[in-house]
Structure formats: C-alpha cells, structure tokens
C-alpha cells in the first residue's frame, strides 16, 4: 500500500516536472479514507487509488494524495498532515464523522474545498463542507423490498440485519416501506453482524425454525456468502432467491452469470469516493458548480446492467 502511494507521489512529481511549461493549473487534492479493514472499505481504497491515477493522467497539473487511516484518531492526524502540504481540496470519507468534525473544520476554515463522503456528522451543512456525496441507505432497503414485492408478491421472507447502528435501521425502515401494502410477510429478523460466519449460523437456525422460506434479504454481499452456504448444506429447495446489497464483485458476477439464487444485487458502491474526487476535480478544472448534496441511487443490479458494476481487480 505504502509503496503504491509512494509510487503515485513519485509519478505525480514526474508529471508536474514534465508539464511545468504547460499552461495547466496546479491543484493538490488530499484524499483521506479509512484503511481497508473489511470488504467495503477495501473497495473504497481500491477505487480511490484507481481514480487518483485517472485524474492525474487527465489533468497534468493535478496532484492527488491518497491517505488511509485505521481509526478516527489517526485519521484526524492524517488530515492535519495533508493540510500542512498545502491542499486546495480535501476529499474525506470519515471512519467516524463526529470525532473528526474539528479536524475537518480547521481545513475548511482555511478556505480549502471540502468534499465529505458517505458518513455525515450531526451538523452537515455548508459551514463544514462544500460537497456531500453519499449512498442511499433507506433506498437500499426500499429497492430490495420493491423487487421482492414485484417478483414474489406473497413471499415469506427472513431478514438478516447488520449491526444495531443507525444506517442498519434506515435500511430496515426502507425495506418495510418497499413491501408495504403487499402480502410479503417477514417471518423473522436477526442480526448477522455483517459477518459471513454469523450469517451462516443465523441462516442455519432460520432453516430449522421455518419449514418454508421463499426469500432471504440479507442486505449485504458478505453475509450472502454465508447464507448461500447454509442453504446448500441443508439441501433446501424452497428458497427461491437471496437479495444481498453493496455490489461486491463475487455477487455481481453471479448476477451477470444468471445465477438463480442471486438474481439481483442492490448497489451501495464503495466507488462513491471516486464520484466525490471527480466532482472535486471538476470544480477546479471545468469551472462547473458542484457544491451541494449528492445522494447516489441504490441502483438495482440486474443481468442486463451487471457488467457496468463489475470490477474483477477490486478486492471487494
């Protein structure tokens, strides 16, 4: 990782030197993201580094510095380190937004362009950031619910939740809204902690508890791995399909290949950090207005569009 970042820095220095005579504006964008500690954040790191390279190729005067940090405290330090290097813009996906408010505010007060990604602090307005890019948690639930309502109108569904935190609740509320007014029945909801092993256990017990299950909604592609294994080991054939979420390469591949158990996936793309980076670069080079709030759709990935969301090189 460090070598890659170093490589990026060296490459960008070389680019800077080579284009010193070109009339290209010199801009430095700092990108601060959590370290890859599970699948989704690994995807964030992958896409941040991928798009950093693309942007620097496109704009020879641009320097993008990507820094990863394992926790909120070290991310606050990383933001300060970045600020010292003279930033024109900061793109940040905070590991935990509220403890990082002060660090972000300091950068913002210096007049730096700030783009906040995914996780918002309690006060999320133009005093702390210029641009806010995020996925849509309620829609992630709602899109899954609506798909189930449409495909299997009287399905008996078991739900595997993530961890008891606000975004999980938003997804559940969205799901309830999605299936509202239909005969879709929720048999049970239990926590699988966004872990493959725990989802396997919960699914095994669901299979014991209910003789007939039509659909499993586990709202996360990592947990879908455990769910599929539990179903295949129990040799149960009553389950028609499983709906995950996020858009991991393994599950998108299954959708692409027409796997009957995984007919669709719902996006909550780690690539959203790249959206923020592109918009930030646009602010400097294209003079287009970008300030504001961008909520990405929870797109339904189907067999037809799956290839647009498939990144075979990504760790996630």
């Amino acid at each position: 990782m460090r070598r890659q970042i170093l490589g990026l820095a060296v490459a960008s220095l070389a680019l800077l030197a080579g284009t010193a005579f070109a009339q290209d504006k010199k801009v430095t964008i700092g990108v601060s993201i959590p370290a890859a500690d599970h699948g989704w954040t690994a995807g964030v790191v992958f896409h941040a580094e991928r798009v950093a390279k693309l942007l620097m190729k496109e704009h020879p005067g641009l320097n993008v510095i990507v820094k990863t940090s394992p926790d909120a405290a070290s991310q606050a330090n990383a933001v300060q380190d970045l600020a010292v290097q003279g930033l024109d813009a900061l793109v940040i996906l905070p590991s935990d937004p509220d403890p990082l408010v002060n660090a972000i505010q300091q950068v913002k007060d210096k007049g730096t362009f700030v783009a906040l990604v995914d996780r918002a602090p309690s006060v999320n307005d133009s005093t702390i950031r210029d641009l806010y890019v995020a996925g849509n948690n309620p829609a992630l639930g709602q899109v899954a619910g609506e798909y189930i309502k449409k495909t299997t109108p009287d399905a008996q569904v078991v739900v595997i939740r993530g961890l008891p935190i606000p975004i999980d609740q938003q997804r559940q509320d969205g799901f309830d809204k999605g299936i509202a007014g239909s005969k879709v029945k929720i048999l049970d909801r239990q926590f699988g902690n966004w872990s493959r092993d725990d989802a396997f256990k919960v699914m095994q017990d669901f299979l014991t508890k209910y003789p007939k299950i039509d659909v499993v909604w586990c709202q996360d592609d990592d947990m879908a791995v455990g769910v599929l294994e539990a179903i295949s080991q129990a040799k149960r054939t009553d389950i028609k399909y499983v709906v995950g979420g996020a858009g991991s390469k393994d599950m998108v591949k299954k959708v692409m290949d027409g796997d009957k158990m995984i007919p669709v996936d719902v996006l909550y793309p780690p690539a959203m950090v790249a959206t923020a980076m592109e918009l930030t670069a646009g602010n400097f080079y294209d003079k287009v207005p970008v300030s504001g709030t961008y909520i990405l759709d929870a797109t339904l990935v189907t067999k037809e569009n799956a290839k647009n969301f498939y990144f075979p090189d990504s760790p996630f």
């Binding site: 500690d37 954040t41 239990q190 017990d205 791995v225 760790p315």
Partner: protein
C-alpha cells in the same frame, strides 16, 4: 444427538476426580436442552442438534488447546487472529497452484496449515517463556500481528479458494458425515480423546497441571517450567490448525474479520467447563461441554420467538452467569 446424551457417561471414566465439579457443566447442558425443548419444538430434532454441535467444532477444538494453556497458568488471546492467519496462508497456498494434482495440493495445504499453526504457537510460547513477557501482553501483541498480517494479505477483502476441484474434494470435511455423524463432530471427539489422554494419563500432562497449580513446587520437583509452558502453546497452535482444517471447507474463504472474538469464546468455553482460570485444574470434557453450551445458548435464542433481537446479547450473558452459578452451588454440596 446421541453424542450429546452419552457425554455424562464418558466424563467420570477420563476425569480422575469424579466429583460434582466435573459433572456440573453436563447438568447445565442438560438444563439448557430442556429449556430449548420448550423454546421451539424443532430444537430437539437431530438435524438441529447436529447443526449446532457441528458449528461449535471450531471453538471446541480451539478451546481444547486453551485448556492446556490455562491449566498451566498461561493465557492465549491470539487464537482467533491466528486461525484467520493460518487459514489465509493455507488458501493462498491452494490458490498458488504449486502442485497441480488437487488431492496432493490439498494434502500439502493441510500439512502446511498444521506446520504454520505449530510455529505460531511456538512463537507465542517462546515470547512468554524465554522472553518472560506476561502471557496477556505477549499474546495481545501476537494477536495484533496475526490479525494485521491477515488484513494485509487480503488487502482488507476476502481470500477465497479459487480451484473448484479442490473445493469439491475438500467441502465434505465440514458438510460430510461418516455413518451418520458429521465429520467435524468426529474430529471434536477424537481430538478431545487425545487431549484427555495426554493431560490425564501421561507424565507431561501431570506436569502441565503441576506447573499451573504451584510454579515453585513444580520447579523444586525438577520440572522444566519453560519447556512445559512452551509446549502448551504449541499444542494450542496445533488445535488452532485443526480448527482451520475444519473452517476452510465451510465457506472456502477468509476475510479480515474471520475469527474475531473467538479467543473470548474459547476462554469462556474453558471456564464454563470447569477449568480454573488461575491454572492447576484442567477439564477436557468440561471444555467440550462448555463449547456446546455457548453454541446452544445462541441457537435457543434464535429459535425462540419471545426474545427481541436487540436483547440476545444480554440474555446470553445472563444464561452463562446462571450456568456458572448452578455449577458453584453444586460444588459446595
């Protein structure tokens, strides 16, 4: 099902001190089975009980090693991270394609896992004994190392067995069965039988108990404390490796979060089983029973309809404390 019930009969044969303390965990287990029966009629089906016991195999086998470490007065917090690390290296080896023949590659991969597990355990042992660092701190350190290396190997994502032939060959080790008994359950009992034999019937086993019960007396009796303790960590490493051999065929994949908090579950299983956390008393069959208790509590919570999903953690904690209190009250008689 048959295994669970025949348990109490086995305990007195292997455990020398046939007393209430040794059978208390089995009474707690029996009470839980009754509770489960009332929670959901599907609980007492052989399919459910076999599922649960099979699932407990990872913690049970790891906890056998922890019984040795704790009996000798040590502690190993690194086992969960070690499992993830060893499993990741094993999968990377299987993916490397060094050996073309699937059966041969699998055999080599399994041997490699055993060797790495033993080496990781040896590292823990040497740091605590030769390095003279408190086991709590030493293994907290190696826990960070094994976990960090796993995250680095996987780049935060997942490491998955790519070769379908190998996976097809390997999958039955977790999901297959021999004369109706799932293979992981056979592994639990064979490993436990070996562990019980070594701890109760060999000189080394008695040394482990002696070292944990009184270090000074053991030293004056001419026992090499460091050697005995180091070997307990190697045994722990071997047990983790056996758990890896069962874990990899289940999902064929590891991630940075594989095995997190399993060290706490293993230690809980050991203590619920009647082994003293301060050392000096080791109960192999109690540990197995403790691992079953932990898994069954979770299973009952899920199968019952009267516990809110938000309260499961609290009820699990309460049941474990009640089980321990039942044990204590039995011991005083």
């Amino acid at each position: 099902m048959a295994n669970v019930v025949s348990e109490p009969a086995k305990a007195p044969k292997t455990s020398k001190d046939w007393d209430m303390a040794a059978i208390a965990p089995f009474i707690a287990l029996a009470l839980l089975l009754v509770l489960g029966y009332f929670a959901n009629p599907n609980f007492m089906t052989s399919a459910n009980l076999l599922n649960v016991v099979t699932r407990s195999s990872f913690i049970a086998v790891i906890a056998l090693g922890a019984t040795y470490v704790i009996t000798s007065g040590g502690l190993d917090l690194s086992v969960g991270a070690m499992l993830a690390f060893v499993a990741s290296l094993m999968i990377l080896f299987l993916n490397s394609g060094t050996i073309a023949d699937p059966a041969l590659a699998l055999t080599a991969g399994m041997a490699l896992a055993i060797a790495i597990g033993a080496a990781c355990g040896l590292a823990n042992g040497l740091i605590t004994t030769i390095g003279r660092i408190e086991p709590f701190i030493a293994t907290l350190g190696t826990m960070g190392i094994y976990r960090g290396l796993t995250t680095w190997l996987s780049q935060g994502g997942a490491i998955t067995v790519r070769d379908r032939d190998i996976m097809a060959l390997y999958r039955p080790v977790y999901s297959g069965s021999f004369v109706g008994v799932p293979i992981p359950i056979i592994v639990i009992f064979v490993t436990a039988a070996i562990a019980a034999f070594v701890l109760y019937r060999t000189r080394y086993g008695r040394h482990v108990t002696a070292v944990g019960s009184n270090e000074d007396v053991a030293r004056y009796s001419g026992i090499s404390i460091n050697r005995v303790r180091t070997v307990t960590y190697v045994i722990q490493g071997l047990c983790v490796a056996v758990a890896v051999l069962l874990y990899v065929p289940r999902l064929g994949s590891t991630s940075a979060t594989t095995g997190s908090f399993w060290e706490l579950q293993a230690i809980t299983a050991v203590v619920v089983g009647g082994t003293a956390l301060r050392g000096g008393v080791g109960r192999i069959w109690g540990t197995i029973c403790g691992a079953f208790i932990l898994e069954i509590v979770g299973n009952i919570m899920l199968l019952s309809n009267f516990v809110s999903e938000y309260l499961i953690g609290a009820i699990q904690g309460a049941i474990i404390i009640i089980a321990m209190l039942v044990q204590r009250s039995l011991m005083r008689k």
